[in-house]
């Protein structure tokens, strides 16, 4: 790792100010992705702004027909929170499959969403559930938030402070893990909610995306069979030593079926 300055602000305002003052500073939440990258010297931030001291970024609460989760809430908390388990059990189940126990004990939902790793789990859930991403300055619908590989709609210096998930009628998740990294090779989150049906896909492409053909099919007929014959085009999907684009295309269908079955 290259050395850097370290700041641990205790308020959101201070954190935003520190980031505004230094364009080469980076926020750090759980650090589960950032620290391995720094260890490999892939990144040279001048300063790390540790968000763990900011109370405004914590907490899980129910607000009307939504669950609002603070950016610094850890995967383990999402997996075990009684409100989430009651309102969006699929989200809790999904969180329980992220990385490993120690990653879930440190990694945060905000870090995962803001990093937008193509193989991260949460973006698919945010898309499928029609979540709203809340930053220090605005609210961004999930559809507009995930822009590309490791890229979001957030501006330099903008901080994610939480995410609001509309409570669905039902939701489910299924994924196949990469045999080596154990990240999602392809995962599909399905939800039937107030805004209709959402199908979010992770791991398959450079950025999580919605599978709209499946959404339409499920809106008409909520059953695994409804998606079983829908084929994801392989054109823009990822291909690597563990999975070809065609294989991932197949997994989109298979995982969608299983996610619907998981949702019940």
């Amino acid at each position: 790792m290259y050395d850097f300055a370290y700041h641990k602000p205790s308020s959101l305002a201070d954190a935003v100010k520190l980031l505004a003052e230094d364009p080469d500073a980076k926020p750090i939440s759980g650090g589960m992705t950032l620290l391995p990258a720094l260890k490999h010297r892939l990144n040279m931030p001048t300063a790390l702004i540790d968000l763990s001291g900011i109370a405004e970024l914590r907490g899980i609460k129910r607000e009307g027909d939504a669950i609002v989760i603070g950016a610094m809430v850890k995967h383990f908390e999402v997996a075990t929170d009684p409100q989430i388990m009651a309102a969006i059990p699929a989200l809790a189940r999904m969180a329980a499959t992220i990385g490993d126990t120690q990653v879930r004990n440190r990694g945060t939902i905000g870090g995962s969403l803001a990093n937008n790793d193509p193989a991260a789990d949460y973006p698919a859930a945010a898309l499928a559930l029609g979540a709203t991403l809340i930053t220090d300055r605005r609210q961004i619908p999930a559809d507009d938030f995930f822009v590309g590989m490791f890229t979001t709609a957030m501006e330099p210096g903008e901080l994610l402070i939480g995410v609001s998930f509309p409570i669905p009628e039902k939701a489910g998740y299924a994924k196949l893990r990469n045999p080596a990294s154990r990240y999602s090779m392809t995962g599909v989150f399905v939800a039937k909610g107030p805004k209709g049906v959402g199908v979010g896909v992770n791991g398959a492409a450079s950025c999580a995306f919605r599978q709209k053909e499946m959404e339409a099919a499920l809106a008409a007929n909520w059953s695994p069979e409804a998606v079983a014959n829908i084929r994801q085009p392989a054109n823009d999907l990822n291909s690597d030593i563990h999975g070809s684009a065609e294989y991932r295309a197949n997994l989109v269908t298979v995982m969608a079926k299983r996610a619907v079955a998981d949702a019940g």
Binding site: M1, Y2, D3, H40, R41, L176, P179, A180, S181, R182, Y183, M185, A228, N229, I230, R231, I241, H242, G243, S244, E246, Y247, N250, L251, T253, V254
Partner: protein, 801 residues
């Protein structure tokens, strides 16, 4: 030896391991846990290219960086007169052609030949400073075409990796009788042909390699602390060939070592670098490998491409076997590399079968990849995989049952000693016994019902069997000398009985997970009749142990343990003389058992501790005849290899939609000879099975066409995790080794040798309805899905297309 049994702690008891207390409380002392006063840190700059000319190296900026004490390149190494990294084995090929043995420089000289080839070293006050400075070294390279595969290296007109290895060939070697094999094929009812690649693996012991060089300017003594399976071998190779330092000025210590699996046998450049630079700088120098660096610098394993043909008669008896293998050596010859595909692999081509005529050929090839050497099993897994897949393919083509064809060709117990057509003579075994026990343990008879039940759940279930043997306990020095080894492969034990009867055992083997401190103590406790608590096992330090060849090839008990038996025999012989004197009897009348020297047929006896005390306080002692003291050293040179074997049965379920293969049951019955500690033996087998399952299903080393390693971290190289490995049913069925005093054979590698073909045979069986006849390792989800998808779109929404 005369074996009696102490149920609690002697031979045959599952004594809990003595080394565990320190490991479980965090008090193990692995190399990176050690720090020497005034220690500096080395960082190694490695080649980013697979193959390139080095046009220049500018170290000035790096040398000026904070904390930097020295920057070394090949020029410094050459100016100091250091030798290259030696190879320990010289194979002579067809027509007496000696293998090509290109220089393996400590630091790349003139050219780099694989990604990760060391180019320069920075030594600084801290590791971060050394790494920071390494980034400031400017190396100008002219990239040359990469030779990522053996096919690329052998292509007509391929550039040469080494000027003195024409055609990028190291050797072209053969074994067996080609004419007799041709004659056998001429009479065959059927010839079955099979081609396969044995996938390249990265050993990945959990402890990354590390080394600390230290130098005492007053005595001129060098000390190297290193993660090694064989400190004396390192002292010999590095001292005699690289640094040219005599043994008495070079101490090599291998403290607690966190797994090896072969990868820590070899003498590596980093060991020479820290030892040499410590002497240059008069300060200790430490290097600790990062995992990403380990992928580019630890020797890899396997990587054989093989074609085989099996000739059978009408009844399914094997008449002849023809095998031709390309073996990847990587960029340079690692310590054991030439022996792996030849003497450790092709000599096993008979397997457990009576095939009368065999001819094997091996062409070894240089490629611009990390050197390849022995990894758990070393040559025997490759041959076992080849044979046990070939036999399944033959059964299918002959329309025979897979078990029946094996039974028809087994070497029977009454045929031992059995001379194979490929040099080895097997001493003992009972392949039917291990097969029977494994079939019973796996409920083989009930498989079809389980397959039907799985089918109802949408899963494809398959069962696979492997009946194998291997050759270990390496090895008779004269024989291996004829085969090209540049060292003897005996083992050494020094047994020091202290005055009060406690015992220190100094062994030339090394324990890096095998539990020697427990097993060897059980052996010594049993033979000398002293309590386990009175026995200490010392290993891993050339300053304490007379000599030794180390631990690999499942040799520690068969060879090292036999050396202990021989040394203890000398102790007992001397003890009988002392006892005869004290008991006023003739030596011939003194019997020794259960720690008592007794006058035969009487109750007159002296305890072991009384004899040892008399030896060190020789007031009443046959001083005219024998020397005081009670300490003996023995060198044991084995008379033959040992031949463990057995049967592994794997059951898998495949998810046809994703191609995922789950091992749902695994049963192994192995004959490892006499078992000293069943708990440790079972643990060794379980661990080997996990590595074998890893090879069969998920582990793979992938280079791209430019010679970049794509599977260069745990993110891309799949290490077996707890969810990917089943619970095992492991048992042993024993025939004794006939030529060593303990009757032991070896258990360290059988798990990794026997299991891969059992897994793939099960995978192929699971896919039998798809007409699949072979699946290459690793049988990843992608590969299985692609096979199913290509055969029939059933797993996909074919209806929609």
């Amino acid at each position: 030896m005369n074996v009696t049994t102490h149920p609690s702690e002697g031979i045959g008891a599952s004594v809990r391991r003595r080394e565990d207390l320190r490991f479980l409380s965090g008090r193990g002392q692995y190399t990176d846990d050690l720090n020497r006063p005034g220690q500096l840190h080395a960082w190694i700059l490695r080649s980013p290219y697979a193959h390139a000319r080095i046009d220049g190296i500018d170290t000035a900026a790096a040398a000026a960086m904070p904390g930097v004490q020295a920057v070394y390149t090949a020029a410094d190494i050459e100016a100091a007169g250091l030798g290259g990294i030696p190879c320990g084995w010289q194979v002579t090929g067809k027509g007496g052609q000696v293998m090509a043995e290109p220089m393996h420089p400590v630091l790349a000289s003139g050219k780099v030949r694989h990604v990760g080839d060391p180019v320069a070293v920075v030594v600084a006050e801290t590791r971060n400073q050394a790494r920071d400075a390494a980034e400031a070294i400017a190396v100008s390279y002219t990239p040359l075409p990469a030779l990522s595969t053996m096919a690329a290296a052998l292509a007509p007109g391929a550039p040469l990796l080494h000027d003195d290895a024409p055609g990028n060939v190291c050797f072209d070697w053969e074994i067996g009788d080609a004419a007799a094999t041709d004659a056998a094929f001429a009479t065959a009812h059927k010839v079955v042909r099979f081609e396969t690649t044995n996938n390249r693996l990265v050993p990945n012991a959990m402890e990354p390699r590390a080394a600390i060089g230290d130098y005492d300017p007053h005595s001129g003594e060098h000390t190297l602390y290193t993660t090694s399976q064989n400190p004396h071998v390192i002292r010999l190779l590095m001292g005699a060939f690289v640094l040219k330092v005599p043994e008495h000025r070079l101490r090599v210590v291998a403290p607690d070592v966190g797994g090896g699996f072969g990868s820590k046998i070899y003498h590596y450049a980093e060991e020479a670098i820290v030892t040499w630079s410590a002497a240059q700088l008069k300060r200790p120098v430490k290097w600790t490998c990062e995992r990403s660096e380990a992928f580019l610098s630890d020797a890899h394993g396997r990587d054989h491409v093989t074609t085989a043909e099996l000739a059978l008669d009408r009844e399914g008896k094997f008449l002849g076997l023809r095998v031709s293998t390309l073996a990847n050596m990587g960029a340079y010859l690692s310590t054991f590399a030439p022996a792996v595909p030849t003497y450790l692999s092709a000599t096993l081509l008979a397997g457990v079968y009576t095939t009368p005529a065999i001819h094997g050929q091996v062409k070894a090839v240089f490629t611009s990849t990390v050197p390849v050497d022995a990894y758990r099993g070393a040559g025997r897994p490759e041959t076992t995989y080849l044979l046990e897949r070939l036999v399944d393919v033959a059964a299918r083509e002959m329309g025979m049952d897979r078990i029946e064809i094996r039974r028809k060709n087994f070497i029977r117990p009454d045929q031992f000693p059995y001379q194979t057509p490929v040099a080895l003579q097997y001493d003992s075994g009972d392949y039917e016994a291990t097969l029977r026990e494994a079939l019973r343990g796996a409920d083989y008879a009930g498989f079809e019902a389980r397959r039907a039940e799985a089918k109802a759940r949408g899963r494809l279930r398959g069962i696979g069997v492997s009946t194998y043997l291997e050759a270990c306990g390496i090895a008779p020095s004269k024989l291996v000398g004829q085969l090209g080894a540049r060292a003897g492969l005996y083992e050494v034990a020094n047994i020091r009985v202290h005055p009060t009867g406690s015992v220190s055992v100094f062994t030339g083997t090394h324990s890096h997970g095998q539990g020697h401190e427990t097993t060897f103590a059980q052996l010594v406790s049993e033979q000398l009749g002293v309590p386990l608590s009175q026995v200490e096992i010392v290993h891993g330090d050339t300053g304490k142990i007379p000599f030794g060849m180390g631990t690999y090839g499942s040799r520690s008990l068969a060879v090292g343990g036999s050396a202990m038996v021989k040394a203890m025999d000398k102790i007992i012989a001397k003890g009988r003389k002392i006892a005869a004197h004290l008991l006023e009897a003739s030596v011939e009348d003194i019997e020794f058992s259960n720690g008592q020297f007794r006058v035969a047929g009487t109750d007159r006896a002296k305890a072991f501790a009384e004899i040892s005390m008399a030896a060190y306080v020789p007031h009443n002692y046959p001083i005219e005849e024998i020397e005081p003291g009670l300490e003996e050293t023995a060198f044991y040179d084995p008379k033959n290899f040992t031949y463990p074997g057995g049967c592994h049965i794997c059951e898998v379920e495949i998810d046809p939609e994703t191609g995922e293969v789950a091992v749902v049951a695994f049963t192994a019955c192995d004959d490892v000879g006499r078992v000293i500690n069943p708990m440790i033996v079972e643990g060794q087998i379980q661990g080997g099975l996990a590595q074998g399952i890893g090879q069969a299903l998920i582990e793979n080393t992938v280079y791209d066409a430019e010679g970049q390693l794509l599977s260069a971290s745990f993110n891309d190289y799949a290490m077996p995790r707890a969810t990917q490995i089943p619970s095992f049913g492991v048992s042993t069925s024993t025939t004794l080794c006939t030529h060593n005093p303990l009757g032991v054979k070896g258990c360290g590698e059988v798990g990794a040798i026997g299991s891969p073909p059992a897994v793939i045979n099960a995978v192929v069986d699971a896919l039998r309805d798809y007409g699949v006849t072979h699946v290459e390792m690793p049988a990843t989800p992608l590969k299985i899905w692609s096979i199913i998808h290509a055969k029939d779109g059933a797993a996909l929404p074919a209806a929609a297309e």
